[in-house]
């Protein structure tokens, strides 16, 4: 396959095409998550879920259209179209500029974080594994944390600009919750990077290097960090639920006591932007979890991608190998999206004081203890 035409394009154009391609995949997945949410909610409640909508001009086509109809994909399109075209009132009592700005702001960090997340890898001509990533920077995880936390500003801005009490309470809760869980989340991944950054090596926070260190040969090299550091993985996962405002931690929305939380005053397209942003956060958060603890694009523990490429002799075919790696990676991420929804219908929402108690009194000491434990273990391993 001749890709030289593509590589002869100017760099800025290639980057623009790559960025657009990633968003063109991420945005529809985030939108489809809303239908997945409805379907999985329905199945867990013993219902079939939305399965009726079909455009009349497609109704006669056999097999493929009924399958899409049963999966509710036409319903998704109809909902999306409705959000775009319905009237979008702005209440009289809001601060208009910030009210309109908030949903736009919520999208920006959600779509930005994906740029430092690798979602596949292939072998270049020199036989080196190269990540498929928009910006292969060394600060990787730090950039994800830094930008993802900006998402809460959109919620705070929405709550404040709405100028009514329930959105405001939702925004206050969201900021308090974010601060509480950000700490444990960051502390929980430090052992991973202590382990990755062996003394004498090059210091890195790159997510690609974390996956590389899970793809080495041998018992310890091929082990995913979820086995090596289960407590870290658990704390990170719990904090991830809190950071993405998912049940059982959806304090910012909490429709039982806050009407709709921060989005009470929003409707139509602005409302849907908030939710696409929430699903984007879930996708990026799950991606980071998969990269850190579940071996990224490696199909199974102790079976890295390079082994699979040897079996299928895909080493000299970067496009196919890259596609395989990306599919493996997206598959794992989608499982996590499913897990988010599965947990939603399993656990009741925590009370606000319980959320704070779990965050400060349970998770934070746990993650600090975990960090100290691994620091001591790694120091001892280095010494002996």
């Amino acid at each position: 396959m001749d890709l030289s035409i593509y590589f002869n394009l100017p760099l800025w154009l290639r980057l623009a095409i790559q960025g657009a391609a990633v968003i063109a995949v991420l945005f529809p997945i985030a939108a489809a998550c809303s239908m997945a949410e409805r379907k999985i909610s329905a199945w867990i409640q013993g219902r079939p879920g939305p399965n009726r909508t079909v455009p009349p001009f497609l109704a006669g086509i056999p097999i493929i259209v009924p399958i899409l109809q049963n999966l509710g994909l036409f319903q998704l399109a109809a909902d999306g179209g409705k959000f775009v075209f319905k009237e979008d009132p702005i209440p009289g009592h809001v601060n208009k500029l910030y009210f309109v700005l908030a949903p736009i702001l919520s999208m920006i960090p959600a779509l930005t974080t994906i740029s430092v997340v690798p979602f596949g890898a292939y072998f270049d001509k020199a036989g080196e594994l190269v990540p498929i990533i928009l910006a292969n920077v060394d600060v990787g995880l730090l950039a994800v944390f830094a930008v993802a936390s900006l998402g809460v500003y959109a919620i705070i801005l929405a709550g404040w600009a709405s100028n009514s009490k329930y959105p405001f309470l939702g925004a206050v809760r969201a900021s308090a919750q974010l601060i509480s869980y950000e700490l444990s989340m960051t502390l929980s991944v430090l052992p991973v990077f202590l382990w990755v950054n062996v003394p004498g090596g090059m210091g890195t926070l790159s997510l690609f290097d974390v996956v590389q260190s899970q793809s080495q040969p041998g018992l310890w090299g091929g082990m995913w960090y979820v086995f090596l550091m289960p407590v870290s993985a658990f704390v990170f996962l719990v904090a991830l639920f809190a950071e993405t405002n998912r049940l059982p931690f959806d304090m910012a929305e909490c429709e039982a006591d806050l009407v709709g939380g921060f989005h009470t005053e929003y409707g139509a397209f602005k409302w849907s932007l908030f939710f696409v942003a929430e699903y984007c956060h879930m996708i990026v958060g799950s991606a980071v979890f998969v990269l850190l603890f579940l071996g990224g694009w490696n199909p199974l523990p102790w079976i890295p991608l390079s082994m699979v490429s040897d079996w299928l002799s895909l080493g000299d075919n970067p496009v196919l190998l890259g596609a395989l790696a990306t599919v493996l990676f997206i598959g794992k991420v989608l499982f996590f999206i499913f897990f988010f929804m599965w947990v939603r219908w399993t656990l009741p929402r925590f009370r606000y004081d319980q959320v704070m108690k779990i965050g400060w009194q349970k998770l934070l000491p746990l993650s600090i203890g975990n960090l100290v434990f691994y620091a001591v273990v790694i120091a001892l391993l280095e010494r002996f």
């Binding site: 999985i40 199945w43 867990i44 409640q45 013993g46 219902r47 599965w342 399993t346």
Partner: protein, 182 residues
């Protein structure tokens, strides 16, 4: 009354981490996820109507095809929302049912008023009006929602009859006219 102290033992460590409960909860929801769905896909699948269901009131005929209603108007009088309107009429002398006292000329049940209470069926001395299995009434106009006599017999059909009250009365009268006793 005896006071029974309930022994509330403190939560174990595993219970305080919530984890065993979360895992058992996840397995419960997983079982629900893969279980067959409870929903009845309504227009394609119809619910099974029990034999004693009280749906739309209808008029019925006896096995000989005679309309059983004799337009006594008891149902009209008992109907709480006044949904029934009966115009009594005579049976022509040359009809084979001439021995029956009367028949309704017109019989209307306004389904926008009917409350499906079943008092009409209960009060009917002729067992002529029955609440049967039809549960869904739709129409585009008010006029469409009024069941007239023809429609009521279409909906009602024929129900079995144990008595044949009017035929027996006629036989008895004929026997008496021939000088026998009855």
């Amino acid at each position: 009354m005896a006071i029974i102290p309930v022994d509330r033992r403190p939560l174990s460590f595993a219970e305080r981490t919530y984890l065993p409960q979360i895992i058992s909860g996840l397995s419960t929801t997983w079982k629900r996820l893969v279980a067959p769905k409870e929903t009845l896909e309504y227009p394609e699948q119809r619910p099974e109507i029990p034999a004693n269901y009280r749906g739309v009131p209808t008029l019925v005929k006896d096995p000989h095809g005679r309309e059983k209603c004799v337009s006594c108007q008891l149902c009209e009088f008992v109907c709480p929302p006044k949904a029934i309107r009966i115009t009594p009429g005579d049976i022509p002398a040359d009809s084979e049912n001439a021995h029956v006292e009367k028949a309704p000329k017109e019989f209307e049940i306004d389904m926008l008023r009917c409350i499906f209470c079943g008092l009409c069926q209960e009060v009917c001395p002729e067992e002529a009006i029955w609440l049967q299995k039809q549960y869904s009434m739709t129409g585009y106009t008010r006029a469409e929602m009024v069941n007239d006599k023809q429609r009521l017999y279409e909906l009602g059909g024929t129900l079995p009859d144990d008595h044949f009250k009017w035929d027996r009365k006629k036989e008895a009268e004929e026997a008496a006219a021939q000088g026998g006793h009855h």
